[in-house]
Symmetry: C2
Subunit: 319 residues, 2 copies
Amino acid sequence: MNKKVLVTGCAGFIGSNLVDELLLRNYKVLGIDNFSTGRIEFITNALKNDKFQFHKKDLLIDETSHLFKEVEVVFHLSANADVRNGINQTYKDIQQNTIVTHKVLENMRTNGCSEIVFSSTGSIYGDSRQFPTPEDTNFPIQTSLYGASKLACEGIIQAYCEGFKFKSWIFRFVSILGERYTHGHLYDFYKQLLENPKQLTILGNGKQQKSYLYVKDCINAIMMALDKSADQINIYNLGTDEFSEVNNSIRLIKDFLGIKPILNYTGGIKGWIGDNPKIYLDTKKIKELGWKPQLNINESINKTLNYFHSNKWLFKKHE
Amino acid sequence: MNKKVLVTGCAGFIGSNLVDELLLRNYKVLGIDNFSTGRIEFITNALKNDKFQFHKKDLLIDETSHLFKEVEVVFHLSANADVRNGINQTYKDIQQNTIVTHKVLENMRTNGCSEIVFSSTGSIYGDSRQFPTPEDTNFPIQTSLYGASKLACEGIIQAYCEGFKFKSWIFRFVSILGERYTHGHLYDFYKQLLENPKQLTILGNGKQQKSYLYVKDCINAIMMALDKSADQINIYNLGTDEFSEVNNSIRLIKDFLGIKPILNYTGGIKGWIGDNPKIYLDTKKIKELGWKPQLNINESINKTLNYFHSNKWLFKKHE
C-alpha cells in the first residue's frame, strides 16, 4: 500500500512542485491550501491524479484535525513568506507561521502522526558573522518577524521531538527559484519591466549578496534527506555553494529581455528593514548525503525568466 | 519627575522582588498580574506605596493596551514557568509566553514605548555542548515547549528592535532562589518533607547539575545592565560560576531540617522529559559590567530554606 502523506501549502510555489514529485513517486497525497498565495493553476495536473486529494482550508481558522488521520508524514510548507512586510503586518508571521505550525503539530500528535518535514529559512541566521553559515553557527539574532516566526517553529518542532518522540526534517532554505516562482526580487523586477521596460527600481544598493537554489534541486534534497537521514531531529541548510549580487540578477534580466532600463537604487546596504544583505549557507551537511544541485545560480535565474516568459498570466492581479 | 515603568508578573517571585527594588529607587511602578502563580502577599508592602499602581489583568485575554501609556520601560516577567508540564499542557507555554510577549510588544509599539527587559532562560540552550555556556554558543536545539516558547519571545523581541528601533535587555536566567521562591525542586522537596519527613521522591538520579542564583543578585544584575549597557539588543546570562548536584540540595535540606528521609530516585539522567541535566552558564559578559553575585549556591539554598521555615503558609493550597 502506498504511504499517505499530507502537504500544507500544496498550491504554493514549492508545495505544488513537491506534490508533483510525491505523486510521481506513487505516494497518496492529501493537500491543504487556502489560496492566500497558492494558485489553483499550480495543482491542475495533480488534481487529475486519483492519488491526490485536495482540501481548501485555512489552517489558522478551520478545523483540520480530521485530515491528519492515517497520515504518515506531514510536509508543512504553508507559510507567510513575505519577509519584507513584517513591519506593516505585525501579527501575520506569528499567526501564519508560528501558531499554524503549532496547530499542525497538535493535529499530528492527536492523530498519532509523528514525522514532519518543515520549510525553514536561512533568514533565521539573521546578520550572520560566519560565511558560509553552517547549521550549528553561533546563536543568531533575529532581524525580521518572518525569521523570528520560523525560529519559533523550529524550536516548537524540536520540543515535540523530545516530548512526543516526533521525527523532524528541518530545511533552512536560501531563496528558491524555478517553475511557479511567484514571490521575490526576480518576480518584482520582471513585473516592473513588463509594465515599464525603461525604468527599474531596486531596493537597496543592488550589492546585496544572496544565494539561490533551483526548486527541483530543493525537492530532490528534501526527498534524499528523508530517505537517508534518520536522526530524531535532522536540520539541513539547502542552497548552492555560491552567492550572487542583486545586480547580477538585473544583468541577466536585461540580457534576457534585450532592454536597457534606467536603474533607480533606493540605496543602503539593506534592501528593507530587517533584510540580511548577505545570505550564503554552508551546504556540506546535505551534500554528505550524496546530494548536489543540478543548476547553478545563473542557470536557475534563466530557468525562472524563461518560465515568466511563457507564463505572463502570473503577473496579472491574483484574485 | 520619576520614570514610569511597567512590570508584568509583578506579584510573582522575581517580579515582586523587582517591584520592591524599583520602588526603593523611586520609580513609578505600574504592575500587572493575573495571580495564576503570583501571590497578593508578595505585593502587600508595594501596595502601601503611592508610587505603585496595581492592575489585576490577564495579558492573554484582557485589553491592556491603555496601561502602557506613558510607560518608559517594560519589565516583562510574566510567564508560565512550569517547564515540566509542557507535555501535558501543550498550548500553555506558547500562549502564556510567546503570544503574551507578542501582545506586550504590540502594546508597547502602539503606545510609543520601546524599551523592554525580558526574563528568558538558560533552558533555551537545550542540551548544550559547551560549558560554561556563553551567550553566543552554537545554535541550540530545544528540548521543551517552555524553552521553545522563550526562544520564540527572544526572536520576536529582536525583530521589534530591528523593525521598530526598540531597545531590549534579554536575561537568560539559571534557576533563581531566595525570598518568595515558590516553584522548583527546593519547593517540591520541602513540601514533600513537610507532609512526610521520612520519605523523599527525587525525579531522576539526583545527579543533575544545575546552577542557581539568589534573587537579589539577579535583580541587581538587571538594574546594572539597564544602567550600563546601551546596545540595541543586550543579551546576558545570569548565574553563578558554579553548578550543584540535586543531591547537594537534598543534603542541605536534610541538615536544615535535621532529618534523614529515605531517598527514592525515579532514576535516569533526566529528571523529566525535556529536562536538561546540566545547566552551567558563562557569566563573563555580565561580570564585565562590574556585577558579581553576593551569595553562592549553598548560601542561596540556605536563604531559601530559612524563608520556607518562616513562611509555611506557602505550602498550603494556593487559591
